[in-house]
């Protein structure tokens, strides 16, 4: 493939903002017919936003998109499909209660003269498509009975039925076995030979070198680098991914380390985690780095008694802790700020006060009855301590900004005076000011002797805040670092392979 070929897709200066975040910042990207372009970047670098603009789910704020040299606007998924762009999401969109043929032709079933669906024609056309993707299955098979890899093939067949010129695959190999991945790569090569362009989103370096012609690296919403795979080293890609400056992030202050507060030994769960062990001392912040899907949140959920464990021991202050449900974890002095504050942490329709006291009701009650004065005092204390910007304690939390909502979640657990505090992505999606405040708060808590576990996908945050860093990859602990002297590149290197 030569650079003289006219690009199939060209994006120029594409920008997109969401409240508080610039998700894409003047991104330029070319994709040529018959090439495989690997799109890589850290979590939150803008890959999914870019993809959603191409699929017509989001509209760009600025910029131009050209398909085969012609300017196009992609206001909705249908026009994107018509323009020849197909997307295969990581979470597959197959309708499991329908057959393969019905899935492929949903919404555009061939109609016979009598006004009913022409099943024979549908079957014939589906057959041809399945042959093309080498899926030797009956077209009447229920999609729900297929494996993930087979469902992916159905989606590819569907993309072909649209005469897709550009197929975007979002981490298609993440749930495939090695053999299935090889089959997928065979199909990708065949598509490529037919002149279809493939954008392949992946975290796996090995795959990039196996399948990609070029690599495009996104970082903080900007196109950090594009390079030819054949004259690129893995380290080049990694340094392009992590080039973010640590800059003026808050750095944890020194705190005296005490005894081991929490120790986890050989934790495994069904299908997800394998033999995970770690410990954290009081006064210490233990960072967990890794890519999305590495299993970090799953570890925390299992430790806190949310998800069942298959094996493994949890020790709190050296003693075996029987944590089978969340209430047990609470009694052992563990607090947990989950990764999704709206879904997992807040009762959005409840007031600031009631959210803050929810995990500490025993502390503000006399017997069975809530002492409303004590409850208000508790909430007032944390509103001023954490500087939560809210018009009153009676404000519903859904009306607060993301940063203030997160402070309410943290207050909820501080109210319970935990010995161990687990924070899963505590600063995701909040503004810089609130982020700094939360970092300072974590540092203060550590100084007061709280043992903190910090899960974060932002390497500068992990490096700045942690005393030690554990790196996870595909459900296992890959290794650990002392914070001193470790670079983002070293951590990323461990996290991707």
């Amino acid at each position: 493939m030569s650079e003289q070929t006219r690009p199939l897709l060209e994006m120029r200066g594409v920008s997109k903002s969401f409240p508080g975040v610039k998700a894409l910042d003047r991104v330029d990207l070319q994709v040529y017919p018959g090439e495989v372009l690997a799109l890589v970047g850290e979590n939150g670098a803008g890959k999914s936003t870019l993809m959603k603009i191409l699929s017509g789910v989001h509209r760009m704020d600025e910029g131009e998109i050209y398909l085969e040299g012609k300017a196009v606007s992609l206001p909705d998924p249908l026009s994107s499909q018509k323009a020849g762009i197909s997307i295969i999401y990581q979470e597959l969109n197959t309708l499991n209660n329908l057959s393969i043929a019905e899935n492929i032709f949903i919404g555009r079933e061939p109609i016979a003269k009598n006004g009913l669906v022409d099943r024979q024609r549908q079957h014939r056309e589906a057959r041809a498509l399945l042959d093309e993707v080498k899926l030797p299955l009956d077209t009447q098979t229920l999609t729900g009975k297929l494996s993930t890899a087979q469902k992916q093939m159905v989606e590819v067949a569907k993309a072909l039925s649209f005469n897709a010129k550009l197929i975007i695959m979002d981490e298609p190999t993440s749930s495939l076995t090695n053999a299935e991945t090889r089959t997928l790569f065979d199909i990708v090569r065949r598509l490529k030979a037919r002149g279809v362009a493939i954008v392949f989103i992946t975290h796996r370096m090995v795959e990039i070198f196996q399948i990609a012609d070029r690599v495009a690296v996104l970082r903080d919403g900007q196109m950090a680098a594009t390079m030819h795979a054949r004259d690129t080293m893995e380290t080049d890609i990694i340094s392009a991914m992590v080039g973010r400056e640590i800059g003026d992030l808050y750095v944890k202050e020194e705190a005296p380390l005490g005894e081991v507060a929490l120790e986890v030994q050989g934790l495994s769960t069904k299908n997800r985690l394998h033999d995970v062990s770690f410990y954290v001392r009081s006064g210490e912040i233990l960072g967990f780095a890794g890519l999305v899907g590495a299993g970090r949140s799953e570890v925390m959920r299992a430790v806190f008694g949310i998800d069942p464990r298959q094996s493994g021991t949890i020790l709190v202050r050296g003693k075996k802790a029987a944590i089978r449900k969340t209430g047990d974890a609470l009694r052992y002095g563990i607090g947990f700020v989950p990764e999704d504050r709206k879904e997992q942490a807040l009762i959005l329709d409840m007031t600031v006060k009631k959210n803050m006291s929810l995990a500490a009701l025993d502390r503000v009650s006399r017997g069975w009855f809530i002492d409303r004065l004590r409850e208000s005092r508790l909430a007032e204390k944390f509103v001023s301590l954490l500087r939560v910007r809210t018009p009153s304690l009676e404000q519903r939390v859904k009306n607060l900004s993301g940063g203030n909502q997160q402070k309410v979640v943290i207050a909820k657990w501080m109210a319970n005076e935990p010995l161990i505090l687990i924070l899963d992505e505590p600063t995701r999606g909040i503004d810089v000011g609130a982020k700094k405040e939360i970092h300072k708060l974590m540092s203060d808590l550590a100084r007061q002797g709280v043992a903190i576990v910090l899960v974060s996908s932002e390497l500068p945050e992990v490096i700045g805040m942690s005393d030690r860093i554990v790196v996870m990859h595909e459900g296992r602990v890959k290794g650990s670092f002392d914070r001193r002297g470790v670079t983002q590149e070293e951590i990323m290197q461990m996290a991707v392979s």
Binding site: T326, P338, E343, L346, K354, L358, A359, F369, I370, R396
Partner: protein, 323 residues
Amino acid sequence: MNPQDKKTNLSLWYRNSSAASTLTILLILLLMSTALAIAAPAFLKASNLLSTARNFSAIAVAGIGVSVVILTGNIDISIGSIYGLAGVSVAMLMKSGWSLVPAVAAGMAVGGLCGLANGLLVVYLRLPSYIATLGMMQIVRGVCYILTQGYPVSGMADSFKWIGQGELMGVPLPIYFMVLFALVFAVFRNRTKTGRRIFALGGNEEATRISGVNTKALKILCFVLAGVCAAFAGVINASKVGVAQPTAGNGFEMDAIASVIIGGSSMGGGVGTVTGTLIGAAIMGVLRNALVLLSVESYWQTLVMGVVIISAVTIDQLRKARR
């Protein structure tokens, strides 16, 4: 604060506050009553008002109970059958020589057990509450028929009639029971730890669980409470009639649930007040009374009730959607 802000705050309050919701339906009740008083002055006679209140008190008691289940985002449609079974059980026990108080306590325990079964089905078999309680509705009704062989139970000691027919200071006893249940549940829901956790569970179950709350036990408790309340409502009714019918409470669940919904509770959970449910039950009671006073053919009554349920909820929706 400039006047503009003040206005916005007021309209915000009007849209969001549950007190505003209660006020709206109270207004509907008052409007209905006024219209009825004009059309049929007999409505305002003390004896008519008291008997109307007595007639909706069973609905209110069962409604208060099932509102706790609705608060968690679930539903219990077996309460009509529980209402029937409780009446039958208490009547049979008294006929076999039990005295009033232990018999009523046993009847409420039967209701509690039915609720426990509902809760276990929903929590451990993960059945949708609508399905679990649909099944229980049939099972419990079946038990009523089996126990009675289909015949009404009568011939109890006179004390049986006390709960439904007795009076204190000229006011029928069921009204006292209704007020008592309302007070106890209002305090339970708003002032106790358990009550607060039920609201939280209805607002966001996962977040509540992650806050260290045993959400399974909590949900089961809610079904038990609904069962106990429905049972007591069934006892009030059987005592009022003086006979325990195995068919008693057929369709009663819909009246109780309607009073909760008219009262401003959200079927999605997390929102609702006891006062609202009381007013909801009152609206249903006044409406029944109106149809009787205005001599509307009884076949039309059912139809009108349906229209009122839809209108009351629509008005509440409009209030919330107002910009």
